[in-house]
């Protein structure tokens, strides 16, 4: 039985060999017939012949030579020749061998074949890259190689890339049947990026059915891309909103508890940013290895520095002005001018350079989005600060007293709460949070004495929009304003978008003069 099989095998073997007989292909190189050479290159690549890679590489490099009897030699760097098939060194010189040259047709075939050969590489990343290249070149010559490579492929994601490349080749080939083309259009449509859309738009002489399918595909792809655009706007809006939240939340606390508008709040943010700068300078000078942790070190320091300054402001200035909110506004504005000028005198009027630690730089691809890590970190940081503040208000004794004073100052005092202390601590807390916001802002904005001024009006808008004395309102207000701002930008441009947001908030205040979440009860009628 085995013998019979063996015999059958013997009989069939030459037939298999004939299908892609390499020796025929090799002889074409020596013939000097460019068409035959191009065909041979394609044939070798398609057969995945063991020597095909070497031949094609040598052709590319101009190192392939032929002897007069048709044997192929490769010239090494040292000028010696080796036989292609046997790999043995051959004694030959310039007179006895002939360099094999290419014309453009051969060159094209070689390039396609190179891509085709990489489809069979051992490394999945190389195979995927080859498939991607073929998708972009959508060369019909690579079609058969792609089909075979895909049949052999084990890695599903690489197989998908190959299927896409195959589909690209099919839609581009003039003689593919309509059904295959329709299927290919569906595959490309599923890919769904700008290249797929461009490819569908450039199908040569499509039949009506294919043209309709391609058109539908383009529309569908555009819709998906628009969806990604929306997602991107939401992300940038959240990023802007989290910055606003960080800047505004301290303001909301002081305004809510004390009814005090602190115009110097922006300067607390600015001081936080300068604390980051100083921390980084010290680390650069004394412990460069710690640079990655500089921002983490700066956060508590900024909280302490800005919080201490805040308490000093409250004890030294604001407590004399209670019950006169408009005067407080003016006095703190004056203070903000003094603080700005002081920082300008100490650090100079120009922008200072604050570095970004390596773990915060870079980007994370997510579908059609690129998420920059520093913005993501700031979003997470803002949420963490918000959660911490909520917990502090909800679960600590200080938070309880702060809420009591917010709701009814006189009653809280009557119950034995030392309201002056609560005021001072609240102001310190609000300022400290502003300082931490400054650390975050130093990562995305210029650190200059004017840093705080750029955010103060936006922060006010957030507080007024969200409603006083309610941190949820502040959070929702900040995120909403951030997102609305980013959605308006593409239509109206950055400046008009900002104006529109301001006008919207002004109009919104008409409807709800006390913000999204007004305080209820006696505290409401201030």
């Amino acid at each position: 039985m085995r013998l019979v099989l063996f015999l059958i095998g013997l009989v069939l073997l030459p037939a298999f060999a004939r299908a892609g007989d390499p020796s025929n292909a090799y002889s074409a190189f020596a013939s000097g017939d460019y068409d035959a050479m191009a065909a041979a290159v394609t044939e070798l690549a398609a057969a995945a012949d063991p020597h095909a890679g070497a031949v094609i590489a040598a052709l590319q490099a101009g190192r392939l030579y032929a002897t007069e009897d048709g044997a192929l030699l490769i010239r090494g760097d040292d000028g010696n020749y080796t036989d292609l098939l046997s790999g043995k060194p051959v004694a030959a010189d310039e007179d006895t061998v002939k360099k094999i040259r290419m014309n453009n047709a051969v060159r094209r075939a070689v390039e396609a074949a190179e891509g085709g050969l990489q489809l069979f590489a051992a490394d999945p990343a190389t195979r995927r890259a080859a498939a991607e290249t073929l998708f972009k070149s959508h060369d019909t010559a690579a079609l058969s190689a792609l089909t075979r490579a895909r049949a052999k492929e084990r890695d599903p994601s690489v197989a998908e890339a190959m299927a896409e490349a195959e589909a690209a080749a099919i839609v581009m080939s003039p003689d593919a049947p309509e059904a295959a083309k329709l299927h290919a259009v569906a595959v490309i449509r599923a890919r769904g990026d700008l290249e797929a859309s461009a490819l569908l738009a450039s199908i040569p002489s499509p039949t009506p059915a294919v043209a309709a399918a391609a058109h539908n595909g383009i529309v569908a792809i555009q819709r998906v891309l628009q969806l990604w655009d929306v997602a991107e706007s939401v992300f940038y809006g959240l990023s802007l909103g989290s910055v606003l939240l960080l800047a505004a939340i301290g303001l909301a606390i002081t305004f809510g508890v004390m009814g005090v508008i602190n115009m110097a709040h922006g300067e607390m943010v600015m001081i936080g940013a300068y604390v980051t700068f100083v921390v980084q300078e010290i680390i650069r000078a004394h412990a460069p290895g710690l640079f990655g942790a500089s921002v983490v070190i700066a956060v508590p320091l900024a909280f302490i520095v800005a919080g201490a300054i805040g308490i000093a402001i409250e004890r030294g200035l604001i407590r004399f002005l209670y019950g006169r909110p408009l005067e407080t506004l003016l006095a703190t504005w004056g203070l903000s001018l003094v603080l700005q000028q002081a920082v300008r005198s100490i650090f100079g009027p120009t922008n200072r350079d604050v570095g970004t630690p390596s773990w915060m730089s870079g980007a994370l691809p997510l579908g059609g989005l690129t998420i920059t890590l520093n913005r993501l970190t700031i979003i997470l940081f803002a949420l963490a600060v918000f959660a911490a503040l909520m917990a502090l208000l909800r679960y600590t004794s200080l938070g309880l007293k702060m809420r009591a004073v917010t709701q009814n100052r006189a009653m809280a005092a009557a119950m034995g709460i030392r309201t002056p202390w609560i005021d001072a601590l609240t102001f310190g807390l609000g300022s400290g949070v502003a300082g931490m916001a400054g650390v975050a802002l130093s990562q995305i904005d210029n650190v200059s004495p004017n840093l705080g001024q750029g955010y103060i009006i936006d922060s006010f808008m957030v507080v007024v929009f969200g409603g006083v004395g309610n941190l949820w309102g502040t959070a929702l207000g900040a995120l909403l304003l951030g997102i609305v701002n980013k959605f308006l930008e593409p239509f109206a441009g950055a400046v008009l978008g900002k104006i529109a947001v301001l006008v919207l908030v002004i109009l919104f205040i008409q409807r709800r003069p006390r913000g999204l979440f007004p305080l209820k009860g006696r505290a409401a009628e201030a």
Binding site: P325, G334, I457, R514
Partner: protein
């Protein structure tokens, strides 16, 4: 009705008298005489008096109705822009590009025809009217919306600030058609009189002093009338006034619009004397600075606003040239010290006891917020 009293007539007389003296000092003595007043001093005084008009307007709403507007410089700047547009059109062919109708910046932006809102600004009278109407209209719309829904206190302050900030951003845009970043400048003459000439500058100072005097008399007439009593009632006890059957929002709206118009006049007189108007006039910091003029002089006195505006700006002119780094400390300190130690202002500092005509009611006792 307004009594014709010393307190009513003295400030305008003093303002006019000083202006006339300065002008005479510039015109009569020879340039070498020690009594000669240089022309830049005349223009500088004119600028201060234009600021004083703004301060007066602000005092009218803050001192008497308790509306702390942090965006009043917006009305001033709108008046300035209206006059600046006239001055731009007046340049005509003398511009760099020699275009008879289009201002230089429009030619530069490749605009081919004048935007519709520039029509009519080649007439002095129309531009003057617009310097009153545009700020007045904005105040009417904004005030109507804000007062109707009872936005008050710091909320109102903040949205007035947002208003001027929005205008600042808008006027920075080139395609708004107001010269963008650079604003309007390079003016040649006003109603046929060359702006560089001493006689024109003297005339502008006199016009500003006259406008300030008239604005003062008008404001004083308003605050001393029956209406003025209600305004003060609204300032001190808005709910009570409402329960007595008045409509505080109507009174507030009236004074707010009047104040905006007065500020617009100030702006219109300001721009020919300084020779430029650009969007930075809209910046919230300017409006807040105007508030400190009033606070320093003494709010709710009208006279104090004028004195405060002139004094603070004298200080600013001196310090920004002599000790530039010191100015912001001084201004910031002024804010803090005035609110802490001088809440009633300079004017009342020298009065042993409040005179009824000057300080109708002691400074607001705001309730805890």
């Amino acid at each position: 009705m307004m009594r014709v009293s010393f307190a009513t007539l003295a400030p305008p007389a003093l303002v006019l008298g000083c202006a006339v003296l300065l002008v005479l000092g510039n015109v009569v003595p020879a340039a070498s005489s020690p009594f000669h007043v240089p022309i830049f001093a005349v223009s500088l005084t004119g600028k201060y008096l234009a600021y004083a008009i703004l301060a007066l307007a602000l005092d009218l709403v803050w001192g008497y109705v308790g509306i702390l507007s942090l965006g009043h410089a917006a009305f001033f700047a709108l008046g300035s822009y209206a006059m600046g547009m006239y001055l731009m059109r007046e340049i005509g062919r003398r511009g760099v590009y020699g275009n008879a109708t289009l201002p230089d910046f429009m030619v530069f932006l490749n605009w081919t025809k004048l935007p519709w809102y520039w029509y009519g600004f080649d007439h002095f009278a129309f531009a003057t009217l617009m310097a009153l109407v545009v700020p007045g209209l904005l105040a009417l719309v904004f005030g109507f919306l804000a007062f109707r829904s009872r936005v008050s206190g710091v909320y109102l302050s903040i949205i007035t600030q947002a208003l001027t900030f929005a205008l600042l951003l808008a006027f920075f845009r080139n395609n708004m058609g107001f010269g963008g970043n650079n604003g309007l400048t390079d003016f040649k003459d006003i109603a046929g009189f060359p702006l560089q000439a001493d006689s024109t500058r003297n005339g502008l100072l006199l016009a500003t002093a006259l406008a300030l005097a008239l604005a003062f008399l008008l404001a004083r007439f308003v605050v001393l009338s029956r209406l003025g009593k209600i305004l003060i009632a609204v300032r001190d006890a808005e709910s009570r006034t409402r329960f007595l059957g008045y409509r505080p929002e109507s009174y507030k709206l009236f004074v707010f619009v009047l104040s905006a118009v007065i500020a617009g006049i100030g702006g219109a007189l300001y721009v020919p004397q300084v020779g430029i108007i650009n969007p930075s006039e809209f910046s919230p910091a300017n409006s807040i600075e105007a508030v400190i003029w009033v606070a320093v002089g003494g709010r709710g006195t009208l006279t104090g606003a004028i004195i405060g505006a002139v004094l603070v700006n004298l200080g600013k002119t001196y310090f920004t040239s002599a000790l530039p780094d010191f100015w912001l400390y001084a201004l910031g300190g002024l804010f803090i010290l005035t609110t802490l130690f001088l809440p009633r202002g300079l004017v009342r500092l020298f009065e042993a006891k409040p005179v009824a005509a000057l300080s109708e009611v002691p400074a607001t006792k705001a309730r805890a917020a």
